[in-house]
C-alpha cells in the first residue's frame, strides 16, 4: 500500500507544474480567452514533450505510460487553465486505443500522439452532439450514442462552432453525415476519459482554493484578515475537503484503469460525480469569499469558475454518474448484484 506517486511520477508532476505555470501566466490565459483561440506553438511544445501520446502504445508513437501519469498531466493542465486542445485529443486517443481494432489504431493513433491529426469525442443526445470540445480543428471525431461508438473523419461531419461560457476552450456542435466506422466496447475508454477530466477539475479546484486562501489572508475588513472569521475560514475548510476527496477518488480511478480494471467503472463514475460537484462548490465558495472583486471581468477567477462549470457537464454530469453508481451498486429492481 502506497497511496503516493513514485519518483518518476513526482518528476512528471514537477516538470508539468514548472512548465505550465511559466507558459500559461494569468495574462496569457486571459489574452487567449478574450481572443477565443489557441496558440499553436503551445500545443506543439506539449507534443514535443511527448504529452499528447503519454498513454498511447509505443508502437503507435506514444510513451506507453498509464492513466495515473495522464491524470498527473491533466491536473496540472487544469491548475494552469491551459487553453490547448489537449483533453479533446486525449479523449479521442483513449477511445481509439481501448475501443478500436488494430486497423483503427494504426490509422489514427500516430496522428493523435504527434498532434498532426487531432481527435475529439462527442456525446450524442437526440441525434446531435451539442458540446464537442475542439471539433472545429480536429481530424477525427468519435461519437458516442448510448455508449455505441463510431469514428468519423471530421470532413464528413457537420461542425458548427458554439460559444460557451468557458472561453479558454473551443466547442462545436457536431452531427455526422455518415454511419462512421464502429468501435468495440467503449466503456473502458469512457471510464479513462472520466478519470482524465476529473483530474482536470481537481487542478482547477486546487487553483481556486489557493487563490481564495491567499485572498482571505490578505483582505482586511473590520481591521482583521477576513480569513480569521469562521464564516470564511470554515468555507475554506470545506473547499479543502472537497478538493482532497475529489483528488483521492480520481487517483483511485486512474490507478484502477490498469491495476484493477474490475473496479474502474465504479471508481470512474464516483470520481466524475465528486469532481464535478467539487469543481462547482469550490468555484462558488471562491467567488463568495472574494466578494465583489470576484464578480468582475478584470479578476481571473471567472475563467476558472466557468471551466469548472462546463467540465462538470462534459462527459456525464454528477447526476448521471451518481445514477450509474446506484446501478453498479445493486440499487433498484434492474440493477446487477452488488459488487
Amino acid at each position: 500500500m502506497n497511496f503516493d506517486f513514485t519518483d518518476d511520477q513526482q518528476a512528471i508532476k514537477r516538470t508539468a507544474r514548472d512548465l505550465l505555470t511559466q507558459r500559461f501566466k494569468p495574462e496569457t490565459v486571459r489574452e487567449l480567452a478574450e481572443a477565443g483561440h489557441y496558440d499553436d506553438a503551445h500545443f506543439s511544445e506539449l507534443v514535443d514533450l511527448g504529452w499528447a501520446g503519454i498513454f498511447v502504445d509505443e508502437e503507435h508513437g506514444g510513451q506507453g505510460l498509464g492513466t495515473v501519469e495522464l491524470a498527473i498531466l491533466m491536473e496540472e493542465l487544469g491548475y494552469s487553465l491551459a487553453p490547448v486542445p489537449f483533453l479533446s485529443n486525449v479523449a479521442a486517443g483513449l477511445m481509439v486505443q481501448h475501443a478500436g481494432n488494430d486497423e483503427q489504431r494504426s490509422r489514427w493513433l500516430p496522428g493523435i500522439a504527434s498532434g498532426e491529426a487531432r481527435g475529439t469525442v462527442g456525446v450524442v443526445r437526440e441525434g446531435v452532439a451539442a458540446l464537442v470540445p475542439d471539433a472545429d480543428s480536429a481530424e477525427l471525431v468519435v461519437l458516442l450514442d448510448n455508449s455505441a461508438g463510431t469514428v468519423h473523419a471530421a470532413s464528413e461531419c457537420e461542425i458548427e462552432p458554439v460559444e460557451t461560457i468557458d472561453a479558454t476552450r473551443r466547442f462545436a456542435r457536431v452531427s455526422a453525415t455518415g454511419a462512421g466506422d464502429p468501435l468495440e466496447n467503449t466503456l473502458p475508454a469512457w471510464d479513462r476519459i472520466c478519470a482524465a477530466i476529473s483530474a482536470e477539475l481537481v487542478g482547477v479546484a486546487q487553483r481556486m482554493l489557493e487563490m481564495t486562501v491567499a485572498y482571505a489572508r490578505e483582505r482586511k475588513q473590520f481591521d482583521r484578515p477576513i480569513g480569521a472569521y469562521q464564516a470564511v475560514s470554515h468555507r475554506c475548510a470545506d473547499m479543502l475537503r472537497e478538493v482532497e476527496s475529489a483528488r483521492s477518488t480520481t487517483l483511485w480511478a486512474a490507478w484502477a484503469a490498469e491495476a484493477e480494471p474490475e473496479t474502474l467503472p465504479l471508481a470512474a463514475s464516483m470520481a466524475k460525480a465528486l469532481a464535478s460537484d467539487a469543481g462547482w462548490n469550490v468555484a462558488s465558495s471562491a467567488l463568495q469569499v472574494h466578494g465583489g472583486i470576484g464578480f468582475t471581468w478584470e479578476h481571473d477567477l471567472h475563467f476558472l469558475l466557468k471551466r469548472a462549470k462546463v467540465d462538470g457537464a462534459l462527459f456525464g454530469s454528477a447526476r448521471e454518474h451518481r445514477e450509474r453508481v446506484a446501478s453498479l451498486s445493486g440499487l433498484g429492481a434492474g440493477a446487477p448484484t452488488a459488487a
Binding site: 500500500m1 497511496f3 480569521a228 469562521q230 470554515h234 475548510a237 479543502l240 476527496s245 440499487l331
Partner: protein, 378 residues
C-alpha cells in the same frame, strides 16, 4: 502508486482473518455487566494472540505494527463485526501516553494490566465549562503531603464506573497562562473522594459518566510528564494512535450503507430517482473517506508525524454516518418512530458524531489554521 497490499501486509491480513475465523466470540450478550465481562474475555483472547497492543512496541508487550497494519486490523474488525475491547481507552490512549511520556517505573507498573484488561482506564479531560476550549479547565490540584489534593468535576467520562485509573488533566498553577498551568495525572478511582454518576444520553443509555472529585489524593509518582506539562501530554494523547481509526470507521460505515441499500430495495424505493441519487452520493462520500484515510496514512508513514489532515476524515465520517441514518429513517416512514429498532437507535446515536472527539466546528478551525494557514480568530 500502488493501492494493493504488499506481500507482508497481505500476510498480516490473512493471518488475522484466519485467527478471527477461529476466535470470533459471536454476539455480545445483553446487559451492561454481561456485556462488559464479554469484552474483558475478548480482550484477553486478543492479548494472547498479540493483537491487544497492536501498535505498541514489542518491548512493552505490543506487536509493533505499522500504521498500514493497524488500519488493516481496524478494517477487518469492522468487517467481522467483532466486539470492542473492554479497555479501549487504555489501549488507544493510556498505554501510548505512558510509553511516550512515562518513567521506567510507570511503564513497568501500568502497561501489562492495560493489555490484559485487568485494570480499566478512563479519560478525565472535558468539564462542564471546558468542552472545545479544553485548556480552560478548572479542576484544581493543590500540593499536599507527597502528592496532590484534587477537587472539581469532569464530564463525558466513558468507562468511569468500571475504571481503576483515570487520565486526569488538572490545574496545578492558578497564576500561569491557561495552557501552562496544567498537569497530567493518573488518578486511582478506588477512593471515597471520587464519585461517579451515570450520564443518560438521548438514546436512553448511559455510555458516559460525570465524575466528582472532592479532595481526591494523587501521589507524586502518578504525574505523567512533568508538573505544568499537562497540555503537551494531553495533545499527544489526542494526536497519537488514531491512525487505524479512519480506515476502520470507513469500513463500518460502508457496512451500514450496504444495509441501507438493502432496506431501500426491500421497501421498493430502490428505483426512486431521489433515493438513488442520495444513496449514490453517500456511497461516493464513504469511498472518498476511505481513500482520504489511506492517503493520509501514506503521508504519515513518509513524514513520521500524524498531521492535522486526519481532521478531514473525522468530519467527513460524522457527516456520512448522520446522513445515512437520516435517510434510513426517511425510508422507514412511520415505522421509524418505533423505539426498539436498530436503525432508530443508530439515528439517535449518530447525533453525537459531529460533537464527540472534536466538534465539526473545531475540526474546521484546525483545518483552516493548520492545513490552510489562515489566521487565528483569537
Amino acid at each position: 502508486m500502488d493501492l494493493t497490499l504488499s506481500p507482508n501486509e497481505q500476510a498480516f491480513r490473512d493471518e488475522l482473518r484466519g485467527w478471527l475465523a477461529g476466535n470470533h466470540p459471536g454476539e455480545e450478550p445483553a446487559g451492561d455487566e454481561a456485556g462488559f465481562q464479554f469484552r474483558v474475555e475478548w480482550q484477553k483472547r486478543l492479548h494472547e494472540a498479540g493483537y491487544a497492543g497492536l501498535s505498541w512496541p514489542e518491548q512493552y508487550g505490543g506487536k509493533g505494527a505499522t500504521l498500514i497494519e493497524q488500519a488493516i486490523f481496524g478494517e477487518e474488525m469492522a468487517r467481522a463485526k467483532a466486539p470492542s475491547t473492554a479497555n479501549v481507552i487504555g489501549l488507544v490512549m493510556g498505554g501510548p501516553v505512558v510509553i511516550a511520556h512515562g518513567s521506567d517505573e510507570q511503564k513497568q507498573r501500568y502497561l501489562e494490566p492495560i493489555l490484559s484488561a485487568e485494570e480499566i482506564w478512563c479519560q478525565g479531560f472535558s468539564e462542564p465549562d471546558a468542552g472545545s476550549d479544553l485548556a480552560s479547565l478548572k479542576m484544581r490540584a493543590v500540593k499536599s503531603d507527597g502528592g496532590w489534593s484534587v477537587t472539581g468535576q469532569k464530564v463525558w467520562t466513558t468507562f468511569a464506573h468500571v475504571a481503576k485509573w483515570c487520565m486526569l488533566v488538572a490545574r496545578t498553577d492558578q497564576e500561569a497562562p491557561k495552557h501552562k498551568g496544567l498537569t497530567y495525572f493518573l488518578l486511582d478511582m478506588e477512593q471515597d473522594a471520587v464519585q461517579v454518576r451515570p450520564l443518560h444520553q438521548i438514546t436512553g443509555e448511559a455510555e458516559f459518566n460525570e465524575l466528582f472529585l472532592e479532595q481526591a489524593y494523587i501521589p507524586d509518582e502518578n504525574v505523567i510528564g512533568g508538573v505544568g506539562d499537562g497540555w503537551a501530554v494531553a495533545i499527544t494523547t489526542l494526536m497519537h494512535e488514531r491512525a487505524g481509526l479512519g480506515a476502520a470507521a470507513a469500513a463500518s460505515v460502508r457496512i451500514a450503507l450496504g444495509q441501507l441499500l438493502d432496506l431501500a430495495n426491500e421497501r421498493g424505493v430502490g428505483d426512486d430517482p431521489i433515493v438513488r441519487q442520495r444513496i449514490a452520493a453517500l456511497l461516493i462520500e464513504v469511498e472518498a473517506l476511505r481513500l482520504n484515510a489511506w492517503r493520509g496514512l501514506t503521508q504519515i508513514m513518509k513524514t513520521g508525524v500524524p498531521g492535522p489532515e486526519g481532521s478531514v476524515v473525522k468530519l467527513q465520517w460524522s457527516a456520512v454516518n448522520q446522513g445515512l441514518t437520516e435517510l434510513a429513517m426517511e425510508i422507514r416512514g412511520e415505522e421509524a418512530a418505533i423505539k426498539e429498532s436498530d436503525w432508530t437507535y443508530r439515528f439517535l446515536r449518530a447525533r453525537a458524531n459531529s460533537i464527540e472527539g472534536g466538534t465539526t466546528e473545531i475540526l474546521k478551525n484546525i483545518i483552516a489554521e493548520r492545513v490552510l494557514g489562515l489566521p487565528k480568530l483569537r
